[in-house]
């Protein structure tokens, strides 16, 4: 999956949208289920590529911390929540659609 992304043409980050703000991201996953595993790989690669050094990513396994699933209103997993910068944005799925993810992160 990572290979697939790197093969793709690099999507230009929008300088206006991508300020100097630090991103706070939370990825909710369910153990090592295939969708979750893919999502972890994908988010790591996207963050490396587009948010080098200015992000804080917390990966939460709701199997381990089920109470957080209630607190954050999680139903569909995996789900990436952009806590900051505002507005809060939710992206469900394994994050394989890089363009959608960048839109959600306001990087395009």
């Amino acid at each position: 999956m990572i290979n697939k992304i790197s093969k793709k043409k690099k999507i230009k980050a929008d300088p206006e949208c991508a300020g100097e703000e630090k991103y706070i991201l939370r990825l909710f996953i369910t153990g090592i289920l295939p969708n979750s595993a893919r999502a972890v790989k994908n988010i790591n690669s996207i963050c490396d590529q587009y948010l080098n050094g200015r992000y804080e990513l917390e990966i939460i396994d709701i199997y381990q911390q089920p109470s957080l699933a209630v607190q954050e209103e999680i139903i569909a997993v995996p789900v990436l929540i952009k806590k900051f910068p505002l507005p809060e944005e939710r992206m469900i799925g394994d994050l394989s659609n890089t363009e959608e993810v960048l839109k959600g992160l306001c990087l395009v």
Partner: protein, 513 residues
């Protein structure tokens, strides 16, 4: 009395594991409740009472069977839900405080999401699991499927719905899943083969401007069930479903008797009067004295220091009291001493089930020995006749279980006596049928009375003359032919005059209507 066991045919001893819902009537239709530890689908349009029925299932489960419950609300927030069920006598606060029920609102809005790839609903499962563990739930409700699956990809929906049903079975909870558009929706998506083992449909139908809620079991794998539509009601005591088959058949039949209030009529009925706890129909054309007979019965019951409920659908209570005064029944003091209670309502005021419920409520309050419905034909304007019949059957069944004697009066139109279908339907249902009519005896109209049938007793087949005077009701033998002059001559001239004037006034009444 020896209790008779009604033999039921049994081919094998296997009983499908079922979970009693605790809802009156529903457990009878399903012969013991919904499938245990399996999901049941509850379908119906908006305003059918799905949420209430689901909640009732949980609350009854806690109250009657001590089975903790989880309610997962996708549509309403917990506060909204609590407010909505407040009108029903559930003690939600106590149940919540004692950790008997756990309510969780799951906010679903797919428009807030951006889809970036494959996903599933594992988050929902995690939350369900948590909730079940919290109260050690045995019962679970998901309300509603539509909101949960709204906006989801078809592929996800299909696989996740199937997984949800399997998962629920593994968790060993008896679940109810509500769905608004369920039937067509699931069929459209080819999901019906995975659908729950039991599917119940609710319906809110308007016939002749009157709404009736109905329930039907569409399918029930591995079990027999009632196939019909059954009316149900929602009131402050929750949900009641009314199957026509009820415990009335297993009820011990009383051999006690109750006097009719007319001694000659008692004589015709094996000299002892009606059976206590039986149903009596008095039918006749207008002005033949049906209400007077009913009032006479009520009067004699009250004189015997027993309570009576008089449900009037035609005349106002005051009018009945005044009219009966003129024939020697002083009902006023009986109303004051609360021996006699009137229920008065316009038939079209509310639907049949609500009439039935209102009367039932009074019955519970005053516990009467006798209930009189005068006249049931007025209810006929309301809804199709088959509805009336099933309502009356249920009502009569209910009264039988309470060992209450019930008297119906029915007005039939001239020329259609015995042929009036509505009347016929009811007359086959009742235990005793008395017909009053105007007959011609030697060129004179006379009121007559005969007992058409009376189950379980030797009754007279005679047609008797029937006289209403200021001293009440009395019966006399009718003699036709040559000797009739002598019978006529027996009547005093004054009496004769009275009779003809009262006839005239009757006619006047009729024309003025």
């Amino acid at each position: 009395m020896k209790s008779l066991r009604v033999k039921k045919s049994k081919t094998n001893n296997f009983t499908f594991p079922k979970c009693l819902t605790g809802m009156q009537g529903l457990d009878e239709i399903t012969t013991g409740g919904i499938p245990k530890n399996r999901p049941t689908l509850l379908l119906g349009n908006t305003g059918c009472g799905k949420t209430i029925m689901a909640m009732e299932f949980l609350v009854k489960g806690i109250e009657l069977y001590d089975e903790p419950a989880v309610f997962m609300a996708f549509e309403e927030t917990t506060e909204e839900l609590l407010l909505n069920v407040k009108s029903i006598n559930y003690n939600m606060e106590a149940l919540l405080a004692n950790k008997k029920i756990y309510i969780e609102h799951i906010h679903v809005n797919p428009d807030e999401f951006r889809k970036t790839g494959l996903y599933d609903l594992e988050g929902l499962f995690v939350r369900l699991d948590q909730a079940i563990k919290k109260v050690k739930a045995k019962r679970l409700v998901l309300d509603s499927l539509d909101t949960l699956f709204y906006g989801l990809d078809y592929r996800v929906l299909r696989s996740e719905f199937k997984r949800l049903l399997t998962w629920l079975k593994e968790k060993k909870v008896t679940a109810i899943i509500t769905s608004e558009i369920g039937d067509t929706f699931l069929t459209r998506h080819g999901l019906e083969e995975y659908v729950a083992d039991c599917v119940i449909a609710l319906d809110n139908r308007v016939t002749n401007q009157i709404t009736t809620r109905r329930l039907r079991i569409i399918k029930y794998r591995g079990s027999f069930h009632g196939n019909n539509e059954y009316p149900f009601t929602i009131d402050e005591n929750g949900i009641s479903v009314y199957p026509i088959i009820s415990q009335a058949f297993e009820q011990e039949s009383s051999s006690k008797r109750i006097l009719s209030g007319v001694s000659e009529l008692d004589e015709m009925l094996d000299k002892k009067g009606f059976y206590a706890g039986s149903s009596i129909l008095i039918s006749g054309t207008a002005g033949t004295g049906k209400t007077s007979l009913a009032a006479s019965f009520a009067y004699s019951v009250c004189q015997a220091k027993k309570t009576c409920l008089f449900c009037a659908f035609e005349e106002a209570p005051n009018q009945i009291i005044r009219n009966m005064q003129s024939i020697g029944f002083h009902l006023d003091p009986m109303v004051e001493s609360e021996m006699l209670t009137f229920y008065y309502s316009r038939p079209t005021l509310q639907n049949l089930e609500l009439h039935f419920l209102a009367i039932k409520k009074i019955i519970n309050d005053i516990n009467p020995t006798v209930v009189i419905l005068d006249p049931i034909t007025n209810l006929m304007t309301e809804g199709p006749n088959s509805d009336i019949r099933s309502m009356l059957t249920r009502f009569a069944d209910y009264l039988k279980t309470q060992n209450i004697t019930v008297m119906f009066t029915a007005a039939i139109t001239v020329g259609s006596i015995e042929r009036n279908p509505s009347d016929e339907g009811i007359s086959s249902m009742v235990d005793t049928w008395i017909m009053v009519q105007d007959i011609e005896v030697d060129a004179e109209r006379t009121r007559s009375l005969c007992v058409m049938k009376s189950r379980g007793m030797v009754h007279s087949n005679e047609v008797r003359g029937f006289k209403i005077s200021s001293k009440g009701i009395s019966l006399f033998p009718i003699i036709i032919g040559k000797s009739s002059t002598s019978s006529l001559s027996k009547r005093s001239a004054k009496e004769h005059l009275n009779l003809s004037t009262s006839k005239d006034s009757n006619k006047m009444k009729e024309t003025s209507r």
